[in-house]
Symmetry: C2
């Protein structure tokens, strides 16, 4: 199909398709003449994946490019794929070395010890947790600190079941894309369910007048 049909079938504008081609998110079509390219079903599928990562997963273009390179790499190890997907979904901040970051590192190290987690120093989530807590400290806030163990306990259950679902399946074929998409869209789903649960808890605690 030509780019116009690819646009019609995917619902993605031609301008966006050309942008994704330039950014290397979408592989080039087959040239049928010097200024006309032909796209196939694989392009359509890839375009849907690109939009899922960007729009629903909230990844940056650079993050999506890294994730897609991992999906395309047939030699990639599942742990590396997991790490790449985690890097892409975490907000990456230029680390600042100050009192707040030192305190935040201590809070996170204590949490890891308290829960008996096996987490390396360079885990993307660990770095992101330090950034969040240091940022909050710099803003003079503490509202998330009291919920740290509530969050950790919830994510312990989630992480365990997520990893179990991947390990139990034990398939190599197609599993990298499966895992990566699960990490990215799972994160968006968790955020969505949190919003639903907050409204529900608010309605229950404050009563019917509390409904929005």
């Amino acid at each position: 199909m030509r780019v116009a049909e690819l646009s019609r079938r995917s619902g993605v504008s031609v301008a966006s398709i050309k942008y994704y081609l330039r950014e290397g998110l979408l592989p080039p079509g087959e040239l049928t003449s010097p200024n006309q390219a032909h796209y196939d079903e694989e392009h359509l599928r890839r375009l849907r994946l690109v939009r899922a990562l960007l729009d629903v997963g909230g990844l940056t273009v650079a993050g999506a490019r890294d994730v897609l390179a991992t999906v395309d790499d047939e030699q990639v190890d599942l742990h590396v794929a997991l790490g790449t997907a985690q890097d892409a979904v975490m907000a990456s901040v230029q680390p600042v070395e100050d009192d707040a970051s030192v305190r935040a590192e201590k809070v996170v190290a204590d949490l890891v010890a308290r829960r008996g987690w096996r987490v390396s120093e360079n885990n993307a989530g660990r770095r992101a947790a330090v950034d969040v807590l240091a940022t909050l400290d710099r803003l003079g806030g503490d509202q998330v600190v009291g919920l740290l163990d509530v969050y950790a306990e919830a994510m312990e259950a989630v992480g365990d079941r997520e990893v179990a679902a991947v390990v139990d399946r034990d398939e190599r074929e197609g599993s990298v894309e499966r895992v990566v998409v699960g990490i990215v869209l799972g994160g968006a789903l968790i955020a969505a369910l949190r919003g639903m649960a907050q409204e529900s808890a608010s309605a229950r605690r404050v009563g019917p007048s509390g409904e929005r």
Copy 2:
């Protein structure tokens, strides 16, 4: 202080500060001459909040503008503030009406009924959950569907404790910013802890060789 000092003390480039001024994220300084403005401690604090929302919370500029307008509105109701913060942290997607979205709406409605949640049809999280599930359906994946109740149970505990923390505090003064920042940074912290818990579960299940 002048913009150069504001930049030095905040670690934010002058170009970024000027961008935030143009976009209305940062209120203008006091003009001390036609082309020189004076900024105070309140600007420094606001700049830190802007960066927290954008870099750590992962909000878009438009999302941050909405959130900051809510924080600045002294008349705003806490429920409206909660809704604005939720809207900003959810990926917003142009809804598509197709078989996948109809199926996803049914899955979410069943989940809400099964868990006895009180969630309105226009809750930002509910719309986002439908988007995620419909997107996954269109990609031919189901990896997140089997974890839906695991995620929901985890977020039920989180949402309940988050709302309890706000209600128990029962303060009006400063509480809108407190709640909004808690929603945004809490979401980033949950994502970070998920990444840590995944690595820990992976190391435990696969053994030391599974560590990255």
